[in-house]
Each structure stands twice: as structure tokens, then as C-alpha cells.
Symmetry: C2
Subunit: 194 residues, 2 copies
């Protein structure tokens, strides 16, 4: 996620001097989800993995007696979401996004092919959702895909290019922070889908 634009996420401390900032306790949303998934795996709760970033390989060296070295390659746009796996026998599929915006989630964070993929999976009764973190509020929401789709589609019919924070608050579910399950989405899935 960090590679394609070469930017590093800024330090939480640099955002504001006026008040202490505990947003993500020093970890990015992606790191929190990785830690949660690892906890879920070890604790026998769910098996969810992040998909590797797709790479277009152009040139590879095969030195004798040592590992192949990729000498030229490019980042490709993913054709799916970043995370998928299995929870209680059901297929789980989600994308995770962090925004510094206070009052809305810009739809430009998501790509059309990711929506296409989520719509496909939703059609086949997979459990699809977004995890959206508002870093300024230090709040992370699970937004079921079927609540997200109308906002996505509306933008092409003259609708707004973002989802208001208050709508996400109303239609999504706030994910509690726990030490081990830092983004404890499985518990929310229990309530929403089982």
C-alpha cells in the first residue's frame, strides 16, 4: 500500500499540536488489521489474509546458485480488494481505507474494479464490507458493502463524491479497539450477518 506512491504515512504526532493525538496508537490501519488477522488465526477465530500487491515483472536475473533477482517490475492495480478469507464457513471480503478527512470519506479512495469485485462477491453471498478509519477522530467503522454501493453509484448520477462522516456513523458500526484484536470486526460480523 505504501509502495505505489512512495509516500510514508505521516507520524501521528505531527498532525496537531493543540491536543494529544492517540490516533491508531502509532500503528496504521493496515498494521492493525494485520495484527488482528494474526490474532484471529492463532486464536482459531477466522482465517483472513491480505493479498500480495500485484506486480508486473519485466526482467528477472537468474544467477547461478543464488535466488532469482527481479531487476525491473511495476506496480499493477489490484483487480480485487485487499483482504479475504473465511469466517464461520462464510466467504469474507473487504477493503480497508484510512482518511485524514474530518467530515466525509472521499470515494476517490476506492477504485471501480474493487467495487465490481465486491458487487460480484456480494451477489454470490459473500460477506463484503469496507473498514474505514477516520484518523482525526480516531474512529474505525465497518460499513457493509450494500450500504456503500448506493453512494458509489450516485456519484455518476450527479451525486456527491464522498460519504458524509455522519452517514457512516449511522449506517456503519464503530469497531472497538482491543489489545489483541485491534480492529475487532469479527464480533461485528456476528451481529450483522449471522
Amino acid at each position: 500500500m505504501k509502495y505505489p506512491n512512495g509516500k510514508k504515512s505521516s507520524s501521528p504526532l505531527s498532525k496537531s499540536k493543540s491536543k494529544p493525538d492517540f490516533s491508531n496508537r502509532g500503528m496504521s490501519l493496515e498494521e492493525d488489521i494485520a495484527a488482528t488477522n494474526e490474532y484471529y488465526r492463532v486464536a482459531n477465530i477466522a482465517i483472513i489474509h491480505k493479498k500480495p500487491t500485484p506486480i508486473q515483472i519485466v526482467n528477472v536475473d537468474y544467477p547461478k546458485r543464488s535466488a532469482a533477482v527481479i531487476k525491473e517490475a511495476y506496480f499493477k492495480q489490484a483487480s480485487t480488494t485487499d483482504f479475504n478469507g473465511v469466517y464461520r464457513g462464510r466467504y469474507i471480503d473487504f477493503e480497508a481505507k484510512e482518511t485524514k478527512n474530518k467530515s466525509s470519506f472521499p470515494l476517490s479512495n476506492i477504485h471501480q474494479h474493487q467495487i465490481d469485485h465486491m458487487k460480484d462477491c456480494h451477489k454470490h453471498e459473500g460477506i463484503c464490507f469496507l473498514i474505514i478509519k477516520f484518523s482525526v477522530h480516531d474512529e474505525t467503522y465497518l460499513l457493509p458493502a450494500h450500504h456503500f454501493f448506493p453512494y458509489w453509484d450516485d456519484q455518476f448520477n450527479g451525486g456527491r463524491k464522498s460519504i458524509p462522516y455522519n452517514d457512516i456513523k449511522a449506517r456503519g458500526v464503530l469497531l472497538p479497539f482491543h489489545y489483541q484484536a485491534r480492529v475487532d470486526y469479527a464480533k461485528v460480523l456476528d451481529k450483522l450477518y449471522f
Copy 2:
């Protein structure tokens, strides 16, 4: 799949001069599965994707006004199987392997972490299996993971390092070849798991 060892799959025609070889109709098992998955997606049957090959990126160039170029990277061992997705709401997870062996499938084709992953998913009621192609016989089998696990575990208790072809024939299901669904595993899943 081809990158890590730098080998290209040999032409089907080069295998034998004594008889015509129609094995995989000129396509590799992986290509056949890719075509099948694409057909399943378009025909609204299932959503199954191959995971990208995981790459360890060491060095990236960010030229101004053009795409980032990966200058040094290495192939990593995958921590999961190659394919997963959703079919009829259930989580699907499988690995596909081709062997030139006539009489058995060598277990060395599979890695421990792939087994660990399949056991994890199986525990969470995912549908896990292997697709094994015997290219010499031009036969492709679906072998449910729970039939595979005992062979895997036995090799560490003095058991054989391969699964006899006849056992795969007996415990697996032969996958028919269709023009669009070249490796039509979904139909077999209907019978085995639904």
C-alpha cells in the same frame, strides 16, 4: 508460478513422439484454471481469483512524472494457497499442481505452509481441495483436502512421499474438460459439498 525457478513449461509436443499428445490442449493447468475462473465470473457462477505472487521489494525508483520502477525484488514463498474465492456463499480455497509423473503425485509439489493454511481454512468450514493434473494421462482430478491431509501427515511417520495415482483416482473426482469451463470444478463441488 513460472518465475521462481525460471523454467518454462515444455511444449506438449516435445514429450513423446510415439503417440499424439493432446495434454491440456496446449494450455497449462494454470491457464485452464484462469480461463475457467473467468468463465465462472462472467457466467455468474462463482468468483475465484488467483492470488498474486508475493514479492519482497528491496529497491524502488520514483522517477518524476512516470510510474515507480521496482529495481530490486525477490520472490517470496506464498503463505497461502494460490486460489480462493466464493461459491454459493461458501469460502473456496485450493492449490493446483501439474505432474509429469505417471504413477503418483510427489508430495514435494506442496509446501508445509500451504497445508497449514488449508488445514486452517478446513477447520473454519471452508471448502478446500487440490486440483492435480497428470499431464501424461491428460487427466485432472479434484482431491478434497481431507483426503489429502492423511497422505501429507504420513510422510513424516515413515509413510511414502507421494500419493499413488490409483488412490487419487479412487478418492478424487475426475474433472471433465469443457470448452468454457476447461477445469469444471464447480460442478464437482456441488456434488461433494452442497
